[in-house]
Amino acid sequence: MFFQHLVNALSVGSVYALLAIGYNMVYGILEKLNFAHGDVYAVGCFVTYTLMLWQIHPVLAILAGMLVGFVLNLIVERFAYRPVRNAGRIVPTISAVGIAYIMRNFIQAIWGAETYPFSLGFELKSINIGGVVIGTLQLYILAIAIILMVLISMALKYTKWGQSIICISQSIPTAALMGIPVNKVIAMVYGIGAALGVIGGILFCSYYQFIFMGIGFSYGTMKAWMAAIWGGIGSLKGSIIGAMVLGLSEIFVSAYVSSAYKDVFVWLIFIVFILIRPKGMFPAEIAEKI
């Protein structure tokens, strides 16, 4: 049974990891709490869901959802974040919370507040190894999370855009003085973060086979934020490992301690951890890279 719990925990962790990658891109560069991340990409997920209901091919529907997430976050960045970027930490955070509410209520107004079944259309198979059941989608999600992490790391390291992002993460004024189009690059980071979030959100919905208006905040924002803090702010590797740790904590607390008070124990573990290592598992070294 321990191994079944372990597989479940890694599966949940993989889902969180996908959600955390997009979140961590923005968080890592600007170090601003983006509480709207989940709700913005949730709109993209609902667009994908609707297009699939209209019999549009899932790949096209996902691309359209990503595009919507991308454009929406560009707009949000331009009108809600950029004007308050230099106003300390509190103002952008409140602005993000406001956007989160607007997005959630937008979803509610268009799609309603109900839980809907969600499927990408392919048959979900599982492999039984010595009594431990592993879903093939669980493996795909883990693989996609790792591939995305590698691709983003490479893009940051080897492209001009990536270098610009790293420069901005170190110092926005210096980056501007060096001729980097700061506003444009930051907007792109927000847009790409949301598009990645849509991928994570869609795989999350496929894994659990449902979609509802709360997917953004409960999972995309809170879990991704915890994973990012746990792993180390700005570290892609850290966000994936942080997500795995979060998944492990949740599943094992739920299985062996208390299901009803799972969140209490997980938050306790989290608080104790950040008291000991406030910068997460992979702090400064990797934070500087991004």
């Binding site: 719990h5 809600a80 509610q108 509802f212 799972k262």
Partner: protein
Amino acid sequence: MKRLLALFLSVLMVLSLAACSQPAENGSDAQAPASDAAPAEDGQAPAQDSGDPIRFAVVGAMTGDSANTGIQQEWGVKLAVQEINDAGGINGRMLEYEVFDDQLIPNQAVICAEKIVADGNFDFVVSPISSGCTLASNPMFESAGLPVISATNTADHLTEQGFKNFLRICPTAGANLVQLVELAVDTYGVKAPAIFYTTAEVDTSSFETCVELLKEKGIEVVASAAVEAETEKDYNSHIANFKDAGADAIFCFSEYAPSALFVKQQYALGYDVQQFSLSGTCNPQFIEIAGKEASEGFITMSAFDATNPREQVQEFVKKYQELSDIVPGEWGAGGYDTVYVAAEAFKAGATKENMIEWLRENCNYQGVTGMISFDEKGDNPSAKALILQVKDGQYTVVE
């Protein structure tokens, strides 16, 4: 420009936040049926003169994960109001109602109650969908002398609080559980059950009662899992625990969405044991979310049977479907019956002040959910739930 944009966003934010707690009036809610609400123009006390409308408040989850329940209840209320008003109203008085969204959250229900009481022009209240919300909000209604009628609050202890203003037409969870446990143990031979439930008031209370009832039959619960429905959607670890504990059946106590996800995940893990549940899962959405295969054989309960051949029931089902495009469940039927029960009292000349007393002493109404009368505590002694099983993607009455 920047200031204008900031102002625009601020207004949007305020409107967005306000939308969470505003009553759905005049069909402003995208999903809810259009309300016949017509807010009073002044703040005077309700007039009892013939010709003045009878105004009532409908409280329920219109948004959130259980919005389906509140929306269905409102369809039933709307249909009853339409029928009564089309027939000339009650002694010449038209019915008007206003919907308040408690999101199935007790503190939100209290906010709704504050608004209703502050309005001062309501004659009665169709209670919140959830027992927990009613428990939280009813003291406020009671202090304002507002009668509250429920068709959905099943928690046993609600009518043991000594509320003078509260009546319910639905069977209690305790009575339903007696039926369910008898079915599980005596008919299905369950010997080692596990229980999955949410931390909601009614589900926790169902869990405790179920454990007691099983104990009386000499059955021990081998495993249990309480989940926070709003934030927890992955139940694989609980299913693994149930399997490991050798559970030969699972009781599911929740609204439709958590149980549907549980059943779906259970099916995916290849763990095939019989599930038993209460009326929260008797909702077409349950089958839609869980899927036809995973939900097959699932046993649940309902205070309403849409296949009942009785003319009154079939006429209601037909009209409800015309109005809402869906087959009514117990929330819709309950909302419908609640309005008619209140109408009985007003028809006989009762007022807001003596409505509860009148109904306790005189009500003997044949509704679509069955015979409705009330005992001293406020329970309907005739209420009895039906046992249904999912067969080929449909609920089928088995008992």
